[in-house]
């Protein structure tokens, strides 16, 4: 009886570890769009290239009217964005946190993010 309890406990422990590993290892795609976008009545215009950092990943430059993608693992991430003017970083350095559920990704609209509006990203389950 005691032996069976220990065995079942071990199996349960392994399953819990597996679920934990699934959660922290699950990769998500974050798309960064540097394009003109209209949300409600407001139009946000993309003008400059933006440099984007996600966690410890290598930064990427998202040029005007283009899209870049980051593949990241885990549920919570830190995004840092700064504009690039004439090859130099300029303007405010904006830092945001983003959280995902399993099988979720996101599209970050950089013009909206730089403008400081609330709806700077949309969760997408099909990406």
């Amino acid at each position: 009886m005691r032996r069976n309890i220990i065995r079942i406990s071990l199996v349960v422990l392994v399953i819990i570890i597996a679920v934990f590993l699934y959660n922290i290892g699950k990769s998500h795609k974050i798309y960064f769009d540097n394009k003109n976008i209209t949300i409600g009545d407001t139009t946000y215009t993309a003008s400059n290239t933006c440099r984007v950092w996600v966690d410890d990943e290598e930064s990427q430059d998202v040029r005007n009217r283009s899209r870049k993608v980051f593949k990241v693992a885990g549920a919570a991430h830190t995004i840092v964005v700064q504009e690039v003017v004439n090859g130099e970083l300029s303007g405010e350095r904006i830092e945001k946190k983003i959280k995902f559920k399993l099988d979720e990704g996101a599209i970050v609209n950089l013009p909206v993010l730089l403008d400081g509006a609330e709806s700077w990203y949309e969760i997408n389950t099909e990406i």
Partner: protein, 386 residues
């Protein structure tokens, strides 16, 4: 443990040379091939570090069945298949990094244990012919694996990632890109020595397995396995459950082989879905035998000597062949010939040794009989005279 001595000579040098004929032969071969190949020492050292860290775990998984007297476990192919199934799932679910690698190990452990259990059951029914049976089991399970991966995955077993599915909607593609887990263990802890990256985490894993084997040999189960390996009749008479002990050794070996294959493939970074496991058994066994092991005796040093020598031949022989004859293909043929040839030689040597032992035993028994007969006749004549 059975002795490896092939000779009755008392001269220690001759005994050493004869008992270590295979590794010595390969050292001589490598010593000739290295200058011919023209590879630098730095290149060879880098290659050896990579290959030892990549292959040693798999080769170490062969040791436990040898302790139990089951010879070289060709059934490690089953463990390799289980490991690949784990990798297919984590690639489908897009689990990356170390969590992905560990999850692949967790997923494949029960599959490997189950396959090891079935293999052990079958091998228990084929006592004395374990290696040939294991080889056949590998071929048979390859068919089952192909059936599962080629037809069930995507149809019965849900696979959602189109990157690994065949365009028809079911079945896994021929090659899977393991970019999510590529070299994650190698890069987990690594530092450079003279510009050569040393994958410390890999070596820690290998070291832990070596410690496990050393510890395991001293446990009650390990001692039981040694007894079973020496004589099943004696073990049975001592109250050891021979069948169960043999079965456990195969299960452990298959699970370890499954981890070994995952470590191997994370280093390569690409999985050849239908072929990666095929020659795992042959190459691991060839490496162990080249290291001086035999079917009845294999040690941890045999593993490392064997992996280094076998892979040194692998690295230098194509180039040496090209420099010598102008055709790299010759070297390629040579290394395939070497891996199969060495298994054949070792098995032949083992069979010959067994036969010699039997003959010696028979001669000794006959001599004892003759002596007994003489004594009996002497006493009868003495009795009549008196």
């Amino acid at each position: 443990m059975k002795t490896q001595d092939l000779t009755k000579t008392t001269h220690p040098v001759i005994r050493f040379l004869i008992n270590n004929a295979v590794p010595i032969l390969f050292i001589v071969l490598v010593a000739f091939a290295i200058p011919l190949s023209g590879f630098s020492g730095e290149y060879l050292f880098r290659e050896m570090v990579t290959r030892v860290s990549r292959n040693s775990f798999l080769v170490l998984s062969l040791l436990i069945p040898v302790i139990a007297g089951m010879g070289m476990n060709f059934g490690i192919v089953l463990g390799a298949m289980a490991g690949e199934i784990g990798l297919i799932f984590i690639t489908d679910w897009e689990i990356v990094g170390m969590p992905g690698l560990l999850l692949a190990m967790i997923i494949s452990t029960p599959i490997a244990a189950l396959l090891g259990y079935f293999a052990g059951k079958i091998l228990n029914k084929a006592k004395g012919r374990e290696m040939a049976t294991g080889l056949m089991l590998g071929f048979f399970m390859n068919g089952v694996y192909q059936l599962v991966v080629l037809y069930s995955m995507g149809k019965i077993i849900p696979i959602g990632n189109n990157n690994i599915l065949l365009p028809r909607g079911f079945g896994i593609r021929n090659a899977i890109n393991l970019e999510g887990v590529r070299q994650v263990l190698d890069n987990l802890l690594s530092f450079d020595i003279f510009g050569i990256g040393i994958p410390i985490a890999n070596f820690i894993a290998i070291g832990l397995l070596c410690l496990f084997i050393v510890w395991f040999r001293r446990t009650k189960l390990g001692q039981d396995m040694r007894t079973v390996g020496q004589s099943m009749e004696v073990a049975r008479a001592s109250g050891i459950d021979v069948e169960k002990t043999r079965l456990i050794s195969i299960v452990i070996s298959t699970i370890l082989a499954c981890y070994g294959q995952i470590i191997f493939l994370q280093n390569i970074g690409t999985m050849n879905t239908y072929n990666s496991h095929e020659q795992v058994g042959t190459f691991a066994i060839a490496a162990l035998l080249i290291g001086g092991a035999s079917v009845a005796r294999a040690t941890i040093p045999n593993v490392f000597v064997g992996v280094i020598l076998f892979h040194m031949v692998f690295v230098v022989s194509p180039r040496a062949g090209k420099e010598l004859i102008g055709q790299a293909q010759l070297g390629e043929h040579f290394r395939v010939f070497v891996s199969y040839g060495i298994i054949a030689i070792s098995l032949a040597l083992y069979a010959w040794r067994k036969q010699m032992e039997k003959q010696n035993l028979r001669r000794q028994a006959q001599a004892i009989n003759r002596e007994a007969l003489k004594i009996q006749q002497g006493s009868t004549i003495g009795g009549k005279e008196s």
